[in-house]
Amino acid sequence: MPPASKHTWDKTVPDEQLLRIAQGDGDVDRRRAAATELVRRYRDAVYLWCFRYTRDSERALDLSQDVLAAVWEKIGTFEGRSKFSSWLFSVTRNRCIDASRRVDLLADEFELGEVPDPAPLPDAVFEDERDEDWLLRTIRTELEPQEQQAIWLRCVERLSVDDVTRILGVDGASGARAVLQRARRKLRAAIDRRESG
């Protein structure tokens, strides 16, 4: 529940309107109430995205509290160049990515699905950022667009295999699993070539 306040807003009031009130002049209580309503609208979205990313409710709760704290720090100076929801998505996503040790593009389904903070596979441990840049370039050059998207959705955005299957419109019993396996095989082969060359 939001703080008790004489100011509450209908759910049809757009985010941008609330943001204008929060950042406008006048009654601080009213502005605070508008900001509260705005943040509260996305409470579940932030938590659920963190949960989807970590697959761990305790970690998701910690991360989403971090996100909310960051939002309160920045909401007054948010310039509104993008949608509030888009900005909040970016804060949430960045917090989750920062909190995990690294984006592991080669983690297999067991690791992504079962381990809250998957360690990279040995052959995906890179010395520095240049290696990651190389891997990102390799993804673009070695993988088909559908394989690239499957890897992005599953390993960076951490969507479930079912969601990736649905988004990609993949037919077949294994859904996006087959696409992901194929993509990882190609990436591992590229890594092997690089290491042996």
């Binding site: 529940m1 939001p2 703080p3 100011h7 509450t8 807003w9 209908d10 049809t12 009031v13 309107q17 204008r20 009130i21 950042q23 601080v28 009213r30 502005r31 605070r32 109430a33 900001a35 509260t36 943040v39 509260r40 409470r43 579940d44 979205a45 938590y47 659920l48 995205w49 949960f51 989807r52 409710s57 998701a60 709760l61 509290q65 909310l68 704290a69 939002v71 309160w72 909401i75 007054g76 160049r81 993008s82 949608k83 929801s85 888009s86 900005w87 998505f89 970016s90 949430t92 996503r93 960045n94 990102l136 667009p145 690239q148 998207q149 992005w152 959705l153 955005e157 969507l159 479930s160």
Partner: protein, 223 residues
């Protein structure tokens, strides 16, 4: 990431762009940007996954939101607070100026309280959730007046129409009426409202003077 990939902060704006916009076209063909759009859409859907524990998390997050709100001081208010630390007003802390100041504050508070009008209210949802059966008909503008009508709400003995300005502050309240229509003349609205300004209106169903239902907000335009 390619040089022209979409910044994550802007990803929510992409789907609103026209189909032929270069950024939209890029987002539809670039696997990284397409994935970001999909991920953003999942964020917005916020479907509770099994075992997510979102019900347990809500009270904790609400407490954190309350805490953040209590601490949050808008930047300009903070600035004015800081500037008020200047020593010039310390003289007012002496007993006589303090008493005079307190009296002035009381007088000003009484004057403000008596002068408060309906324009201080804002569009709020402290009324019961609107029922789909209680709906607004499209507003009609005729001869410089706005004709408003709505469906009857079972159990209601009167209706109150409220009109809100662009900042959603209440600018007009029509006296409670047992009818399911009302006419608002242009002259009843604030004189400084420009023509063809989009306003919001809402009807509150009353029973014995208590609000029992509120309609969903509707849109009208000043004549």
């Amino acid at each position: 990431m390619e040089a022209h990939c979409i910044d994550v902060e802007r990803i929510g704006d992409i789907t609103d762009l026209p189909a032929n916009h270069p950024d939209r076209r890029h987002a539809e063909t670039c696997p990284r940007c397409r994935s970001l759009v999909e991920s953003y859409l999942e964020f917005m859907k916020s479907d509770a996954a099994a075992g997510s524990g979102v019900e347990k998390a809500r009270p904790v997050l609400d407490a954190r939101i309350r805490e953040g709100a209590q601490r949050w001081i808008p930047a300009d208010a903070r600035a004015s607070r800081l500037s008020s630390r200047a020593p010039w007003w310390r003289g007012f802390l002496k007993p006589a100026p303090m008493l005079a100041g307190a009296a002035a504050v009381v007088v000003a508070a009484v004057v403000l309280w008596n002068a408060r009008g309906p324009e201080e209210a804002v569009l709020r949802d402290d009324a019961p959730v609107s029922s789909p059966a209680f709906s607004l008909a499209p507003a009609r503008v005729e001869d410089g007046s706005i004709r408003l009508s709505w469906t009857a709400m079972p159990g209601a003995d009167a209706y109150e129409v409220r009109i809100y300005g662009p900042d959603l502050s209440e600018i007009y309240r029509h006296p409670a009426t047992p009818e399911t229509s009302a006419e608002v003349t242009r002259s009843a609205l604030p004189a400084d409202l420009p023509s063809t300004l989009d306003l919001t209106w809402r009807v509150y169903a009353l029973s014995g003077g208590d609000v029992i239902e509120a309609s969903a907000p509707g849109s009208i335009r000043t004549p």
